[in-house]
């Protein structure tokens, strides 16, 4: 029997154009603006996750060897929470906000109305392929937009699962998933969008923004950086160590934008810190971490090679104090700690995004602030200390997307905090209401009446009018009275 070779449609510029046209037609027809439609889509997304948890966990295992608990909690549970929050709060978010008016525009009333931007593009990353795809989509739906989601090809099982599930559960005339790699993304970026949200690295972030510039499309870029952890002495070392481990190896084995990248501590404290790490790491992952089921693998051979390059650099390989084992066939690298790596090493000059944790030593804890500020601004910065003054200094001096004191990564789960970068770690923010706002245009509306038409606005322009205008814009009632009475100086 002759095998039928299916002709795979190529997603090129024309296909991208068609997709945008279709979505624009849906948007213009008002489908996505409808409040009930938004609720239905969010409910459908919840159902989608409830009914497909095992498949999602399996796809994440395929793509990343992600432990079930990480998939269930950091992807599915977090998404469901985000969805439920949007469903609960949306009725407040869509309400216009009253704005105060001043004497200058009396009598008038003013408000700020949220409206959808239109047709938006969400490009997501491979490390939290479900969360980073659907969390922005939740915001875009709540704000009333039509959406194209482009999941990362580096996590292909999750990408196809998303494509299938979204098509089955959600309104395809308004929400589409486009799978593919560089050519497909390029085709999408050529189109005119009303907003683009990109999660990934700075190199591609620049490309996305440059493409958006052609159409004056606003962008949100959620990028990365080297998230430092400052560890002071006089703390509960065990708790601190565990929290660092949870944020590093517990988050996709260090492959997360807010994972602790490196540690800064004093020369005096370093040995104690390393010992604590050794103890807790063994408690969590056993004597043979390469065989632990509780660690994700390195996503692919490219990244595996990249990480080995960082680890095997001459000036660095001698600094390993724990770990360093690797299993190429399973793409696993054991949790590895390095002590006192040189500042000019590769590992200290790019975002690690993997299970290697360098420790830098300084004389005094205060020195860490300048050290961090000498690099580019990271997405997050962490500090463990009980010293109130140091906490204040840390908060004041260190510029990063977000800061956490005495823990790592948990601010991600806090929807009342805007989540986003600054400088090289990105622009824009989302989560909770910030997601709704990021996909909305806040339209200013001023209502004026016909009463009170001050002739002083109009020509002929006279000195008297000038005096009165000065008083009116100055906002002082006394000034206005004086001007009206002609008592003010010209």
């Amino acid at each position: 029997m002759a095998s039928e070779v299916e002709k795979k449609a190529v997603f090129d510029i024309d296909s991208a154009k068609e997709v945008v046209q279709e979505l624009r037609a849906s948007f213009v027809a008002g489908k996505t603006k409808d409040y009930e439609w938004r609720r239905t889509q969010l409910k459908a997304m919840l159902k989608m996750m409830d009914e497909n948890e095992p498949q999602i966990v399996a796809a994440l295992r395929d793509d990343l060897s992600k432990p079930e608990l990480e998939s269930s909690i950091y992807e599915i549970a977090m998404l469901k929470n985000s969805c439920k929050l949007a469903l609960k709060k949306m009725k407040h978010w869509v309400m216009p906000e009253k704005a105060k008016t001043s004497l200058a525009t009396f009598p008038s009333s003013a408000e700020i109305v949220s409206e959808p931007l239109g047709v938006v593009l969400v490009i997501s990353a491979w490390n939290y392929p479900l969360l980073l795809s659907l969390d922005p989509v939740i915001g875009a739906i709540a704000a009333g937009n039509a959406i194209v989601l482009k999941p990362s090809e580096i996590s292909p099982a999750t990408a196809s699962l998303l494509a299938k599930l979204v098509a089955n559960y959600m309104d395809s005339s308004c929400i589409k998933v486009v799978e593919g790699a560089v050519p497909e993304t390029t085709a999408l970026l050529e189109q005119k969008w009303d907003k683009i949200m990109y999660t990934g690295n700075g190199r591609i972030g620049r490309i996305v923004m440059a493409a958006a510039a052609k159409h004056l499309t606003p962008v949100v870029l959620e990028l990365g950086g080297k998230c430092p952890v400052i560890v002071d002495s006089g703390i509960n070392l065990q708790v601190a160590t565990r929290r660092i481990i949870a944020g590093k190896w517990g988050c996709n084995n260090g492959q997360a934008c807010i994972s602790p990248d490196y540690i800064i501590t004093t020369k005096d404290y370093a040995v104690e810190l390393v010992d604590s790490f050794k103890c807790e790491l063994e408690r969590f992952y056993g004597k043979n971490p390469l065989e632990s089921k509780d660690l994700s693998r390195v996503v692919n051979s490219n990244h595996f090679a990249r990480l080995l390059k960082l680890l095997d650099e001459d000036k660095v390989s001698s600094k390993i104090v724990y770990g360093g084992e690797r299993d190429k066939s399973n793409l696993k690298i054991a949790p590895t700690i390095l002590l006192d790596v040189p500042q000019d090493s590769l590992i200290m000059n790019e975002e690690i995004f993997g299970p290697l944790l360098p420790i830098i030593m300084i004389d005094k804890v205060e020195d860490s602030f300048d050290l961090i500020n000498s690099g580019t601004k990271p997405l997050a910065a962490y500090m463990f200390t009980n010293n109130k003054k140091l906490k204040e200094k840390f908060v004041e001096k260190v510029s990063a997307g977000g800061l956490v004191i005495n823990d790592t990564t948990v601010h991600l789960a806090e929807p009342t905090l805007p989540f986003g970068g600054v400088g090289d770690s990105g622009m824009g923010a989302y989560h909770g209401k910030f997601s709704f706002d990021t996909f909305s245009h806040k339209k200013a509306v001023l209502y004026r009446s016909f009463a009170g038409d001050a002739p002083l606005r109009y020509p002929p322009y006279t000195n008297g009018k000038l005096r009165l205008l000065k008083a009116l814009l100055g906002g002082s009632i006394l000034g206005i009275i004086r001007a009206l009475m002609g008592w003010s100086k010209a």
């Binding site: 409206e115 440059a210 969590f284 977000g402 090289d424 622009m427 004026r448």
Partner: protein, 483 residues
């Protein structure tokens, strides 16, 4: 060898790094100095605006000096409040924890301003940048040369030279500035240049605010109410077209939409109002700015060259090349595919487009790209609601023109082709700030299920925790729930 431009910017970066712009007292002192600058140099400012644009002192005060004084005063009174961190709610699960959002300056910012409101569009963003604690390089437009020189000479006399610098020059200087790395770029100008600014910013991942333009329409539906309302409508339209810099304003009324049967009423009212405000004809023209330069003058004259467009002139049309003056001109139904109906006019020509039914104005506006403002003169609440929900623009103003600019509590900015980002009032402070999230945690209590090795118990615990199902958690801990 660094050029003087690069040295200046290095100095700005050094000042910022050393914390020179951080303290509230520094920011306030700069804002007060700016207020002093404006107060002590009012006459020179009027003179420069007259020289560059033929603006009268009243127009200059109303649109530039007064606006700036108000903006500084408002910012000074609110600064402490804006700088304070805002508390964020934290769920019980994280107890004990404290969360807040703290605004921080972005660093070294670049402000490009435009020629039509050379003081407002330069100094209003500057007020925002300083209040947020940044160092600033201001690049005013060289198309308003007297104003630019004034700023270059006068700002250093009042403000901190190490933190605020003004650079004179043309497009070539602008291009060189765009090659460098900034922490924010604020641009007011045309969409064409806006694209170039954003593309340059992309290379450094620099966030931008683009205040652009578009064709801001005025929907007129109040002519058949009362004669006095009709008169006020006409005044506000005239004031909103030729009042600001003779139509050379991003928020000026670009064109008018009115019902066919009311067109002649409108035109008559407009003519009367124009004559009363600006004089009978081009020879006796007063109380109005002129066109900024020959290039813009020629562009506007060319819009009228198309014979079909010229035929549609119902008032005005005279030009004086020497004085760079075009008299207020009204056109009735020029062809919709003419340049005057597809490009932003930015000048004293007012097309009136007639419709069978005023409700058609919604589709008409939607056929063009999103404008900065939609003005709608109507008392019909249903129509107002339709305009709000069925059109998209930076702002909508009902029953007036221009005044939304004075409202500090309303965000001022565009959407789509009219730009993105916003400012005025607190929005200026926000646009030059990074909102940093901060979470404070305690060491106790510890939630063991956060840590591996993973077990079913831990999975169930976390699922309940993430649902904030405190009751379920208690049951689980007491052994009443099974994994």
């Amino acid at each position: 060898m660094l050029s003087s431009m690069e040295k200046s910017i290095a100095e700005l970066r050094e000042t910022f790094k050393n914390g020179g712009t951080k303290s509230i007292s520094w920011r306030k002192s700069q804002l007060k100095a700016l207020l002093q600058l404006i107060n002590q140099n009012e006459d020179s400012i009027f003179k420069a605006l007259d020289q560059d644009l033929g603006k009268s002192p009243v127009e200059s005060y109303r649109d530039e000096v007064g606006v700036l004084k108000k903006s500084v005063t408002y910012t000074l009174s609110c600064l402490e409040k804006w700088v304070a961190p805002k508390k964020a709610e934290v769920p019980l699960l994280f107890f004990p924890a404290k969360a807040e959002v703290m605004p921080q300056p972005l660093g070294v910012v670049l402000i490009f301003s435009s020629w039509n409101f050379p003081f407002t569009l330069a100094l209003d963003p500057l007020i925002g940048a300083i209040s947020a604690g940044n160092t600033v390089l201001l690049k005013p437009s060289d198309l308003a040369p007297a104003c630019m020189s004034f700023l270059v000479e006068t700002i250093p006399k009042y403000l901190d030279n190490k933190a605020v610098k003004v650079l004179a020059g043309g497009a070539d200087i602008g291009e060189r500035l765009l090659q460098l790395k900034w922490d924010k770029i604020f641009f007011t100008g045309s969409p064409r240049v806006g694209r170039l600014v954003m593309a340059a910013a992309a290379k450094h991942l620099t966030p931008v605010t683009l205040e652009l333009g578009g064709k801001s329409p005025a929907i007129v539906d109040t002519l058949s109410t009362t004669p006095s309302k009709a008169k006020v409508t006409a005044k506000r339209i005239v004031g909103g077209k030729w009042g600001p810099c003779t139509g050379q304003a991003c928020i000026a009324i670009d064109y008018v939409l009115v019902e066919e049967k009311l067109a002649s009423t409108l035109i008559e009212l407009l003519k009367k109002t124009i004559k009363r405000f600006y004089g009978e004809n081009i020879k006796s023209l007063k109380n109005i700015s002129r066109i900024v330069n020959k290039h813009q003058f020629q562009r506007l004259v060319n819009l009228l060259k198309d014979p079909n467009v010229a035929d549609s002139i119902v008032y005005g049309g005279s030009v004086d090349e020497e004085k760079l003056v075009i008299e207020p001109t009204i056109l009735l139904d020029p062809p919709l595919d003419s340049e005057i109906m597809s490009e932003e006019i930015f000048g004293p020509l007012l097309p009136i487009i007639t419709l069978k039914n005023i409700e058609e104005s919604i589709d008409f506006i939607n056929s063009k790209s999103n404008p900065l403002v939609i003005y709608a003169f109507t008392e019909d609440d249903t129509f107002k609601k339709r305009i709000l929900s069925e059109t998209s623009s930076g702002t909508v103003t009902f029953n007036d023109s221009m005044v939304q600019f004075l409202c500090d509590s309303l965000p001022f900015g565009g959407v789509g082709q009219s730009g993105f980002g916003r400012y005025h009032g607190k929005y200026s402070f926000d646009t030059f700030s990074h909102e940093k999230s901060i979470m404070h945690r305690g060491f106790y209590p510890e939630i063991e299920p956060r840590y591996p090795p993973w077990t079913d118990f831990k999975l169930l615990f976390l699922k309940l925790a993430y649902q904030f199902d405190y009751f379920g958690l208690i049951l689980l801990l007491l052994g009443f729930k099974r994994s």
